[in-house]
């Protein structure tokens, strides 16, 4: 089997803050294979977005710094590239779709110009050709009347249409990997479904891989092939999506599943919340980050960090105990 398209190994990213050095991403390892959709799911502060930004080398420094690990993409360690080499990959071989389309688009440039820019930059296409490519791209992301709308500015687009523009920009150079960081959180419910369906459809068409960052277990269930669950900067469980939902084995994953309201299932069922508060990265416990909220935490959990172990084929968890639904 060919090596995975993206191999992240022991990635560690820290931030300097008023409250000391925070480890936002702590020895995270995962793979994304050709054509696969991998979801990283977690709550705020879990490190899922910092992981995505670290892969793209977009961590603001200072205060942040990628301190250790490897990000192997098509066999090359992105962390060892100089800035020029990284720029040649970013937006070209690896593209990113951000959460807030309004703040990620330049308000003073026309949409056509912004979509044409990566084509001009990475493909060396002359502007006229790049502009024609932009028109074709806007059509592919189903922007009606694309030819006329090329000259419009981002504020003349609705939220959903702006996110379509972001997708068109990401697709411009036919990337092998698309990283989408909460791509629909700012959108209306029915538009969220449209946008995610579109991203999924286009990655399927082009055979590119998708790394989807989300907090929504429903979105993961609908779109992902494999899932990594993050908590307190670490991956606590990872498995193929169907396995993870059928047999979650980390107490945090189990807790999340029980706490999420669902459209199906028994009406009026009380939700089972995870007690306590999400972890504070400045005051992480010595042992397992989830231990203060865990129903089955035992003594070892409080003194040592459980390593991520493959306890069944392709199913990894970082827990000393045997948690079951």
């Amino acid at each position: 089997m060919a090596p995975p398209l993206l191999q992240v190994r022991n990635l560690t990213t820290r931030f300097n803050s008023e409250r000391g050095r925070l480890t936002a991403v702590d020895q995270v390892s995962f793979d994304v294979r050709e054509g696969e959709t991998v979801a990283i799911v977690g709550e705020s502060g879990s490190g899922k977005s910092v992981t995505a930004l670290s892969v793209m080398r977009l961590i603001p420094s200072p205060p942040g710094r990628i301190e250790a690990g490897e990000v192997l993409f098509e066999g090359k360690d992105l962390l060892k590239l100089d800035d020029a080499a990284m720029r040649a990959i970013r937006g070209n071989r690896v593209a990113m779709i951000f959460q807030e389309p309004m703040s990620s688009l330049n308000p003073a440039l026309s949409v056509g110009l912004q979509v044409a820019e990566p084509v001009n930059l990475h493909r060396g296409s002359p502007w006229a050709k790049a502009y024609a490519a932009a028109r074709e791209l806007l059509g592919r992301v189903r922007i009606p009347d694309a030819a006329r709308r090329l000259a419009s500015f981002p504020h003349q687009y609705s939220g959903g249409m702006r996110q379509r523009v972001m997708i068109a920009m990401a697709l411009a150079c036919q990337p092998r990997l698309i990283i989408a960081d909460e791509p629909t959180t700012a959108l209306d419910v029915t538009v969220q479904a449209q946008i995610l369906d579109l991203i999924k459809e286009l990655t399927r068409e082009t055979g590119s891989s998708l790394l989807l960052i989300t907090h929504d277990l429903g979105v993961v269930a609908r779109y992902a092939d494999r899932v990594a669950v993050m908590y307190g900067g670490r991956i606590v469980e990872t498995a193929p999506a169907r396995v993870l939902y059928k047999e979650p084995r980390h107490p945090y994953t189990l807790g999340l599943m029980a706490s999420v309201p669902r459209l199906d299932g028994e009406v009026g069922r009380r939700l089972v919340p995870i007690e306590g508060q999400p972890p504070d990265l400045a005051e992480l416990p010595l042992g397992c980050a989830f231990s203060p909220r865990c129903r089955i935490a035992s003594e070892p959990c409080r003194s040592a960090r459980p390593p991520l172990m493959e306890f069944a084929p392709q199913h990894w968890k970082a827990c000393f105990n045997d948690a079951r639904a």
Binding site: E43, V189, M257, S259, L263
Partner: protein, 344 residues
């Protein structure tokens, strides 16, 4: 129905036998858009809420659901009279409060309170938690002295699952879920009968949402509260509301009991909203047939003709473009505004 000249107290007494707490009759809230600074000309009207009616029983929970611009928050603010209704009637505890002035609203505002969406923006960062929660008591002169004030605040803090010594702290020392508990405690300070919750859990982390949803349900059981629960997520609403009104561009398109709405949604927009929400189970998702609506919500400034949903509706007919469907009562507390389900 009390006579129009009845005093508020009498009106409440007259409504005593009835268990209806709130009723809206054809409520409209329009915002004029004007041009010019000294001589203002009206250039357009935003029809934020355009003729909605519902009744809510004491102890019940009504969900107002829809996407941005549907008028769900405007409806909540109009009931509290924080926005001026343009037309229609708002009846609260048997009293018509539609055009009450500030002075007449004051005693009524004690009986209806609001919990806001943003737990970071809705608490004054320079006030201690004690004074945030106690402010309504002070404003309405409820606490007789400092001692009863302190006791009542401590009681409220315990009620929402926080610790009494947290009263001396400031909002920034709390997490989002804890702040939302503070907001709930403040809303409950004056023992309201109606609490309007505007997206109260959508800013919270997934694991914390369930804590707050459960708190709302416990408080309702203990205190007999009536809720209007404003949300965009039909999955959350399903857990807390016994009746649900689905809104689109200022109008109610469907209203039904929880059991009916989720089992057999009638309006194509309700179907679309349900289909848009993924179920946290890959096997269910793989089997699901999902009609996806096209486009986005139109503008309340120039809403589409006929049925406001028709440009996005997969089942739209010729008639839908010109004739606005009326909300038709189908019996058993269910009504829908769609030509597909018009009986007459």
């Amino acid at each position: 129905m009390p006579a129009p000249d009845a005093s508020p107290a009498n009106a409440r007494a007259a409504a005593g036998g009835d268990d209806e707490l709130v009723r809206l009759d054809d409520l409209k809230v329009h915002f004029p858009l004007t041009k010019g600074t000294i001589i203002q000309r009206r250039v357009a009207t935003v029809q934020a809420v355009d003729g909605i009616s519902f009744a809510l029983k004491r102890g019940g929970t009504l969900g107002l659901v829809g996407e941005s611009g549907c008028g769900k928050s405007t409806t909540g603010l109009a009931i509290l009279r924080m926005l001026e209704p343009t037309a229609g009637r708002i009846v609260f505890e048997g009293e018509d409060i539609t055009f009450h002035d500030k002075e007449r609203m004051r005693p009524i505002r004690r009986r209806m309170q609001m919990v806001y969406q943003d737990p970071y923006g809705s608490l004054n960062p320079r006030m201690k938690v004690r004074d945030i929660i106690g402010e309504p008591l002070a404003v309405h002169g409820v606490a007789a002295n400092a001692q009863t004030y302190r006791e009542r605040v401590a009681q409220l803090i315990r009620l929402v699952g926080l610790l009494p010594d947290m009263a001396e702290r400031y909002p920034h020392e709390f997490s989002g879920g804890q702040r939302q508990r503070i907001g709930i405690a403040r809303a409950l300070a004056l023992e309201p009968s109606l609490v309007i919750c505007d997206e109260p859990v959508s800013a919270l982390d997934v694991s914390i949402q369930a804590q707050v949803v459960n708190l709302f349900m416990e408080l309702q059981e203990r205190l007999g509260l009536t809720y209007i629960f404003i949300a965009h997520n039909l999955a959350v609403v399903r857990h807390i509301c016994d009746r649900i009104a689905v809104m689109y561009l200022g109008r109610i398109v469907e209203i039904a009991s929880r059991a009916e709405l989720y089992k057999s949604p009638l309006h194509p927009y309700t179907e679309a909203l349900l289909a848009a929400i993924p179920v946290a189970d890959p096997e269910v998702e793989a089997r699901r047939v999902r009609p996806i609506v096209k486009g986005e919500v139109g503008s309340a400034l120039a809403p589409p003709s006929g049925c406001r949903f028709h440009p996005r509706c997969p089942k739209a007919m010729e008639k839908c473009k010109t004739v606005a469907p009326a909300l038709t009562d189908l019996g058993a507390g269910r009504a829908v505004a769609c030509h597909l389900h018009a009986t007459a």
